[in-house]
C-alpha cells in the first residue's frame, strides 16, 4: 500500500470528522458578541507584564479576592522547540493577577505523557521562573478528585473525574501555547484542558479521552469548567507536526478572552487555519458561533499579525482560504 493511499484514508477520516462535527454541532451561537483581544508581543522580555496588564484591563477581568488557577501547557521538553507555555509568560500572568488583588494564584497541570511532573516542570524552567514553585504548584494527575457528570455529552463519556483544585477555584485560566496538532489540527485554550483530567485515574496518556473521541472529549470538558479565561502564549509557537515534534514558528502575539471557542477561533485565523473546520470548536460553539461577526476583535487586527503556520499534508483541508 503506498503512502498516497494512506494519506487519503487519514485525510478522509479527518475531514469527515471535522465536517460531521460542523454539521452536528447543536450548540447555539452566543447571544452576545464575544470579545477577543490580540496584543503584539515580540518577545518574552520586560514589556510582557505591561502588555498583559493592558489586555486584562480591556476585558475588565475582576480577580480581586479570587482563588485563581493558572493552567499552562506542560507536555515534554526538547530544548530545540517551544513545546510548553514559556515559564516567563506564566510568571508574568501570575504576577499580574497577584498585583490585581487575587486571593491566591496557583499553577496546576497534569501532563499526559510523563508521570514525573516535577521533573518535567524543572527541566522546562518553571523552578527558575518561580522561586516558590513547589508551594504554588498542584500536580493535577495526583490531585484529590471528584466525579462530575457531563450534561448532554458529545462523546461516549457520561462523567469525568476532575481535580478538586480546579473544581474549587474561582477562576481557571488556560495558558496554552499557539500550536498545530497532529490529531485535531490545532491545540489552543480548549485542548489545553486535557491536562485537567487526572492521570492518576485515567493513566498516561489519558487514553480514555482518545477512545471517547478527542474532539468530542475536548468539547465535553469545556462544559465542566468553573468560571474561566484564556491567555494564549503566541509569542513563539509551533507549526507542522505539533504538539511535540513540530518546528518553532514566531508569531509575536498574545490572544485573550473569556469565551474559549472565540479565542481559539481567533488563534486559528492568525495561523491561517479555518476554525470552522476544527472539530472541537464547532462542537462547542457551532460553526456559526465561530464566525467573525460573532467575535468583537480588540487590539490588533487579524491581518496585521497573521502568520501562516505549516500544516501536515493530512490537514491541508483546514487551510483558511481567505481572511474575513
Amino acid at each position: 500500500m503506498n503512502s498516497a493511499h494512506i494519506q487519503t484514508r487519514r485525510s478522509l477520516l479527518a475531514a469527515t470528522g471535522a465536517l460531521a462535527a460542523a454539521g452536528c454541532g447543536t450548540t447555539s451561537p452566543p447571544q452576545v458578541k464575544q470579545k477577543v483581544s490580540i496584543l503584539r508581543a515580540p518577545s518574552y522580555n520586560a514589556d510582557l507584564l505591561d502588555t498583559l496588564r493592558r489586555g486584562i484591563a480591556a476585558h475588565a477581568l475582576d480577580v480581586k479576592g479570587k482563588r485563581v488557577v493558572l493552567k499552562p501547557n506542560l507536555v515534554e521538553v526538547d530544548a530545540s522547540v517551544p513545546i510548553n507555555t514559556h515559564p516567563v509568560f506564566v510568571h508574568a500572568v501570575a504576577e499580574l493577577f497577584t498585583s490585581l488583588g487575587a486571593a491566591s494564584v496557583r499553577i496546576a497541570e497534569g501532563p499526559g505523557h510523563r508521570r514525573n511532573t516535577w521533573e518535567l516542570a524543572e527541566v522546562a524552567g518553571y523552578f527558575d521562573a518561580f522561586p516558590d514553585f513547589e508551594q504554588r504548584f498542584t500536580d493535577l494527575n495526583l490531585d484529590e478528585v471528584r466525579r462530575v457528570p457531563i450534561p448532554d455529552p458529545h462523546s461516549e463519556l457520561s462523567e469525568l473525574y476532575l481535580g478538586q483544585t480546579v473544581l474549587g477555584c474561582d477562576l481557571l485560566v488556560s495558558l496554552p501555547k499557539l500550536k498545530t496538532h497532529h490529531w485535531v489540527g490545532a491545540t489552543l485554550s480548549m485542548k489545553n484542558f486535557f491536562g485537567l483530567v487526572p492521570g492518576g485515574v485515567y493513566g498516561w496518556p489519558k487514553n480514555v479521552l482518545h477512545w471517547a473521541g478527542i474532539d468530542a472529549s475536548i468539547a465535553d470538558i469545556h462544559k465542566l469548567l468553573p468560571p474561566h479565561f484564556a491567555i494564549v502564549d503566541g509569542i513563539e509557537g509551533m507549526e507542522g507536526n505539533g504538539p511535540i515534534q513540530g518546528s518553532p514558528r514566531h508569531a509575536g502575539v498574545i490572544v485573550m478572552g473569556s469565551y474559549l471557542p472565540a479565542v481559539d477561533a481567533t488563534c486559528c485565523r492568525i495561523m491561517k487555519i479555518d476554525p470552522q473546520r476544527i472539530g472541537h470548536l464547532t462542537l462547542a460553539a457551532g460553526a456559526a458561533g465561530l464566525a467573525e461577526e460573532y467575535i468583537t476583535q480588540a487590539g490588533e487586527t487579524i491581518p496585521s499579525v497573521q502568520t501562516e503556520f505549516a500544516l501536515l499534508p493530512v490537514f491541508d483541508f483546514l487551510r483558511l482560504k481567505a481572511t474575513g
Binding site: 500500500m1 494512506i6 494519506q7 484514508r9 487519514r10 478522509l12 477520516l13 515534554e76 526538547d78 505523557h113 510523563r114 508521570r115 514525573n116 516535577w118 521533573e119 524543572e122 527541566v123 513547589e134 484529590e144 478528585v145 471528584r146 466525579r147 473525574y161 497532529h182 492521570g199 492518576g200 485515574v201 485515567y202 493513566g203 498516561w204 496518556p205 487514553n207 480514555v208 482518545h210 477512545w211 507536526n241 515534534q245 501536515l312
Partner: protein, 257 residues
C-alpha cells in the same frame, strides 16, 4: 509504592494494618483495585499489590488480584481498534506487537502498566507456571519489545507516530529494562537499551528517573555504582519510595523479582 518500599525495608506486619485495611476496601469482587476512595473505577493500580509479600497480601486477596490481572486484555486487541488504525494509515495489522495492559478499562495498552504486569506475572510464575500465565507473560514481553524507541529506550508506549520516531524517557527506559530482565531480549536490542539507559543516567536529575534507571541497569548486571545519591532531590512520597526501592535492589533485595 510506599508500602512496597517499606515492606522491602522489613517493617512488621502490624505496621501495615491500616494500609492493608485501606487497600482491602479498594478491592472489587473481581480482584482489581480502585486508585482512591473517591474513585469507583478499577484501574491498573491493583497490579502493584502483587509485589507485596504474601504475609501482607495473601490468600483470597492475592488470588483475586492475579485472576484480575490475567483477565485484562487491552482494547487495542479489538477489531474496532484495528479498523481505526487502518483508517489512520497503519500499513498492516501489527501481529508481532504482543498484548500489553491498559491504565484504565476499555482503553489501549501502554508501557508502564504493561511493565508492572509483566514483572508481577514473572514474580508469581515462580510458584505457578500455568499455561495461561506463560502465554500472557509472553504477550506482555512482546508488547514491551515492540515499543522500543529508535534511540534504544522506551517512552510512554508510542515509539513511532505518523512516521516520526518518539524519544525515550529515563523512567520508562529503566522500568522496561526491569520488566525485560531474563526475557530473552535480542542482544543487539538489549545493548542499545542499556546504552540509552546509561546516557539517560548521565543527564537525568529526578529521583524517580534515576531510581528506575538504577533498577533497570541492575536487572541486567550493568551497574558499578549507585545512581541515586545524597544529592538526589526527593519532592514527594513517590520519590522517596523509588529511592528506597532502588537501594534495596542494589542490595540484592528487590521486591520486583
Amino acid at each position: 509504592m510506599a508500602m512496597l518500599a517499606l515492606s522491602g525495608a522489613g517493617q512488621s506486619p502490624e505496621f501495615f494494618r491500616p494500609s492493608l485495611t485501606w487497600l482491602g476496601e479498594r478491592q472489587s469482587p473481581e480482584g482489581g483495585l480502585s486508585p482512591s476512595a473517591t474513585v469507583n473505577d478499577v484501574t491498573w493500580v491493583g497490579t502493584l499489590c502483587s509485589f507485596l509479600p504474601e504475609s501482607l497480601w495473601g490468600g483470597e486477596a492475592r488470588g483475586a488480584s492475579l485472576r484480575w490481572l490475567l483477565q485484562q486484555m487491552p482494547e487495542d486487541q479489538s477489531f474496532l481498534f484495528r479498523l481505526r488504525m487502518w483508517m489512520l494509515g497503519a500499513k498492516k495489522p501489527d501481529v508481532s506487537g504482543g498484548a500489553g495492559w491498559s491504565w484504565y478499562p476499555g482503553t489501549a495498552a501502554w508501557l508502564t502498566p504493561t511493565a508492572y504486569a509483566v514483572l508481577a506475572l514473572r514474580k508469581l510464575s515462580v510458584t505457578d507456571r500455568s499455561e495461561a500465565f506463560e502465554r500472557r507473560l509472553l504477550q506482555g514481553q512482546q508488547y514491551l519489545i515492540s515499543r522500543q524507541c529508535a534511540d534504544g529506550g522506551w517512552n510512554h508506549g508510542s515509539s513511532r507516530s505518523l512516521g516520526y520516531d518518539g524519544d525515550s524517557y529515563p523512567e520508562t527506559t529503566g522500568l522496561a529494562l526491569m520488566a525485560l530482565r531474563g526475557a530473552g531480549i535480542e542482544p543487539k536490542a538489549l545493548q542499545s537499551a542499556l546504552r540509552r539507559a546509561e546516557a539517560h543516567a548521565s543527564t537525568c536529575r529526578s529521583a524517580q528517573g534515576l531510581s528506575l534507571l538504577q533498577m533497570g541497569l541492575a536487572a541486567h548486571g550493568r551497574l558499578a555504582q549507585p545512581l541515586v545519591g545524597k544529592q538526589t532531590r526527593c519532592r514527594s512520597t513517590m520519590d522517596h519510595a523509588h529511592v528506597a526501592l532502588a537501594a534495596q535492589t542494589l542490595a540484592g533485595r528487590s521486591v520486583f523479582w
